[in-house]
């Protein structure tokens, strides 16, 4: 399960003398040249150049196809002057949103989720732990575990005091999970 995302929406403005129509638009910058420097400290630097037809005036641009682990706080336009644009801001997803699979699943710990099994039956549970490749050692009442590729999660049965309804994304992650015990 690999996830890519839109890094965010870039608010740009062309110089005033180029500004014609003032309608905001939302073009998507297609993938272009990518230079990558990978450090041996779990960090990479991506420099991407994308060709895009920019409308005149103030507009938004979607920058798509970036890795989920992109650190949006470091995002910048490095050739704004040459491209004759002014970069006004970036609105990106919150940290953890659209994160890597393991990160994203770990974010479910403590949350109440609905598990949709093949065949249509469902169960509700609280995620106690998410482990890499081994079954979670669980303790407590009415335990069951399920596989959520590529990790295995461990859940308890529904609690009496019903927490808020599960999120759609939580359900989606486990929708095809077979029950393993």
């Amino acid at each position: 399960m690999r996830r890519r995302r839109v890094i965010g929406t870039l608010l740009l403005a062309l110089p005033a003398f180029l500004a014609g129509a003032q309608q905001p638009s939302l073009p998507a910058a297609p993938a272009g040249r990518q230079d990558l420097v990978v450090t041996n400290q779990n960090l990479g630097v991506v420099v991407e150049s994308r060709s895009v037809s920019l409308p005149a005036g103030r507009f938004e641009l979607r920058w798509e196809g970036t890795p989920a682990a992109a650190r949006t706080e470091t995002w910048t336009v490095t050739n704004a002057r040459e491209a004759r644009i002014r970069w006004l801001g970036l609105s990106g997803p919150l940290p953890g949103t659209g994160a890597a699979d393991s990160e994203w699943l770990r974010g479910l710990v403590g949350k109440h989720v609905r598990i949709a099994r093949p065949g249509g039956s469902t169960a509700e549970a609280e995620v106690l732990a998410v482990y890499g490749a081994t079954a979670a050692p669980c303790s407590g009442k009415a335990l069951s575990s399920f596989t959520a590729s590529p990790v295995r999660a461990c859940c308890s049965g529904p609690s009496r005091a019903r927490p808020p309804a599960p999120t759609e994304s939580s359900c989606a992650s486990t929708a095809s999970a077979p029950e393993t015990g």
Binding site: Q41, V45, A68
Partner: protein, 279 residues
Amino acid sequence: MITSRYLVGEVSWEASYALSLAADEKRGHLEGWFVVDNRSGGDFTPSRLRLLAGTLRVAATPAPRPMVDRLQVAMEKVASSEELSEARVYEVASPPRLAAGRTTLPLASDAEVVVEKRYVARSTYWMGANEEPQRIPVGVQYRVATRALAKALPAGVVRVYVEDGTVFTGEDRIEHTPERSDVEIETSEAFDLTARRRQVSFQQTGRTESESSYEVEIASRKKEPVTVLVREQFPGDWTVVESSVPPKKLAAFTVEFPVTVPPGGEAKLTYRVRVRIRG
């Protein structure tokens, strides 16, 4: 054209080496690979790929992640490297797509290297009296001359093979190694060599000074004579007052005694050391 730059986490790399030793263990073939681990949640299709080796200060280092098993071997071209600020950058020619998981790229192609095999027995000085004999592990060490590679070697794990590369005999991690520097790896403990160290005398010669005598007995079941480098570490100001084998000072607190052991026989090293601990 808009050019953006951003940092991305969950992507890293390390070097991996294989040293295949000849039967005499005096020569070998060294190969190296970059192993790029992409857990970022996206693929990369870089037009240019550089791998940076160094120790960078970063505000927070994410915890290492287990890597997936899928290995992808791509390209046969060897990467070139150059200095960049305080780091070393390896440029990968014709970079492949970096999908999720590991991608293996060549770093050094099958270079013939000169190898020196050594046996090293290390022990640490014990302040005060201690009559109990102490077993000292005798490590198998290889000193590999990397001159033939003519390139800096990034930190990574060296795995050593013998018998035409069919038998794995251990591995060790090397640090970043500049060009033309030798690397030392210690892969296992010697099977046919045992060493025992015993303190035979102790004398408190002053409030902060003492003298101790030691015996190190080394037994060999090998068919040829071998030299075992007995390395001792002493604290404070130290002087080897007398020894059966001439000592060689390796560092501020380390001395080495090369002891030759006959085939199937034993050898004994004796020495007396004066140690003064600053109060």
